[in-house]
């Protein structure tokens, strides 16, 4: 137990405490640090750019989290179970591919897909929607949703598989009982599927919300936060503040806020979904 604890203390707990400490100073990383108390936090909560950046991460939750979970639920309730045969193996393998490749690779692939000559525009032109084509990641209005689509692509397969796996554990008797009671597919979904999948949905939400709030790789590769600040997320801003702008204190305060934001989102979900079933 000791070695694990030592590694954890030296490379996680100590930096964590340091982050807290840095966040109370104005420091450029080299010179003498100046005590500023909570000023950095005040900046995080009042600076319009920083607030916008935090807002971007919240918007990404919709794409990284809600869309994959909703679509995953839809597919799961249609498919109910993926067969154990060869077809099932192929399906599972393919749907897991985005989980296995580095996010950087997903970023590169989608930067190409969403570029002016990319596949997305090619398809749009083919169906007669040539008018809406654009460089999706470079456009002021569409950049953030475009980044969101990349995240949705990465996480959709995982959510689908998790939900289908949970689905196959539901007692088929429950569905038969619901049918006998005259429930239609919609009632069935809300009365049987949703409550039974509570835990799986909780897991999906937890994983995807953390992925959205702490996103870095995809944004760094596909847009570097641009155009303007349209797609800058806290992770990227921490990196930029700490290593290019040399505002270590402010970067650390943002890091603490990000950490708390993750906890504030994840803990209630855990409490709601881990509790005993109704």
């Amino acid at each position: 137990m000791l070695p694990a604890l030592v590694m954890y203390a030296v490379f996680v707990l100590r930096p964590l405490v340091l982050t807290l400490q840095y966040s109370l100073y104005d420091w450029n990383g080299i010179g003498v640090a100046r005590w500023v108390g909570l000023d950095n936090y005040l900046t995080v909560f009042t600076d319009s750019d920083l607030l916008k950046i935090i807002g971007n991460a919240v918007v990404l939750i919709v794409f990284f989290s809600f869309i994959p979970v909703a679509l995953g639920l839809l597919v799961a309730s249609m498919v109910r179970r993926i067969t154990t045969g060869a077809f099932g193996t192929v399906v599972r393998t393919i749907l897991f591919l985005p989980q296995v490749i580095p996010l950087v690779a997903a970023g590169i692939a989608w930067s190409w897909l969403l570029s002016s000559n990319g596949l997305v525009n090619q398809v749009l032109r083919a169906v007669g929607l040539g008018g809406v084509t654009r460089a999706w990641l470079g456009d002021f209005d569409t950049a953030l949703p475009a980044v969101g689509v990349i995240g949705a692509w990465v996480l959709l397969g995982l959510c689908t598989i998790l939900l289908v796996t949970g689905m196959s554990k539901i007692d088929p008797g429950l569905y038969e009982a619901a049918r006998l009671d005259g429930a239609g597919p919609v009632r069935e979904f809300f009365a049987v599927t949703l409550p039974s999948l509570r835990q799986e949905i909780g897991v999906c939400l937890t994983v995807t919300i953390i992925a959205a709030l702490a996103s870095f790789d995809i944004v760094y590769i596909s847009t570097s936060g641009g155009p303007g600040l349209q797609t800058t997320v806290p992770g990227l801003e921490i990196y930029r503040l700490a290593f290019s702008q040399r505002q270590v204190g402010l970067a650390s305060a943002l890091a603490v806020v990000l950490m708390l934001l993750v906890l504030a989102c994840v803990l209630p979900i855990q409490r709601l979904t881990r509790g005993e079933k109704p």
Partner: protein, 274 residues
Amino acid sequence: MNLSRREQVTGRVLLIALIVVTLLPFVSMLSAALQPRGSVPDGLAWPSDPQWGNFADAFTAANMGALLRSSLLIVAGVVPVSVLIATMAGFGLGQLRVPGGRLVFGLLLLGLTLPFEAVVTPLYYQMQDLGLLNTRWAIILPLIGLYMPFAVFWMRAHFTNVPVELSEAARVDGSSTWQLFWRVQVPLARPAIASLTILMFLWTWNQFLLAIVLVDDASKRTMAGALGAFQGQWGTDLVLLCAGSLLILTPTLIVFLIFQRQFIKALIQGSVKG
């Protein structure tokens, strides 16, 4: 299970649509990678004269040999040590129930949802002080620490479910704690250890943030970090970029396809427990 015929068909169609969407980015990259160098490729068009040589060019341009070696070294530095010390810690917490265990466990739980961005800045200065910046150690050591919450959590979950009677029986036979650990518990824990190993391998191989912050030289980074550098260098040469990216993906894909059953099991369990 009696799904109506219409539902079954819709389900199938949805699933196939999902598969197509998942695969399209890869196919589109492949089609771009095979175009003649310097051309401006279209989203998806099979080239009349596929230029497989582009992959050879990309192999040289990306310095693939060095990259593979670097990633393997980092994995070799991170994974065995992490798995070993996490297994020991999990054993201590789950089976021996050592005093103070609850406190340690609480501390670890704190780290379970920690975004790496929250500690990367101090880690940079810490590595600077240790003189390890720009070496592979700067990636290896922090990763071991950062993996501990999940890894210990994972192994503890396994050891908690092993009946205590088993340990007691071994003790009656006169084995020491050390023997008990290696002879009895570790062999039993093999499936849990295998899944953990797979996850650690994958996360290390794909680690990006630590690689770009702590190591400047792309040939000393992880695969993901190197890929980032490759994009920075060849971003304007789309054909080469696509070829290189696919090339850099190949080792992971091969390992994934060989162990795909174990991978999927590990990933499913991994996210459920995490």
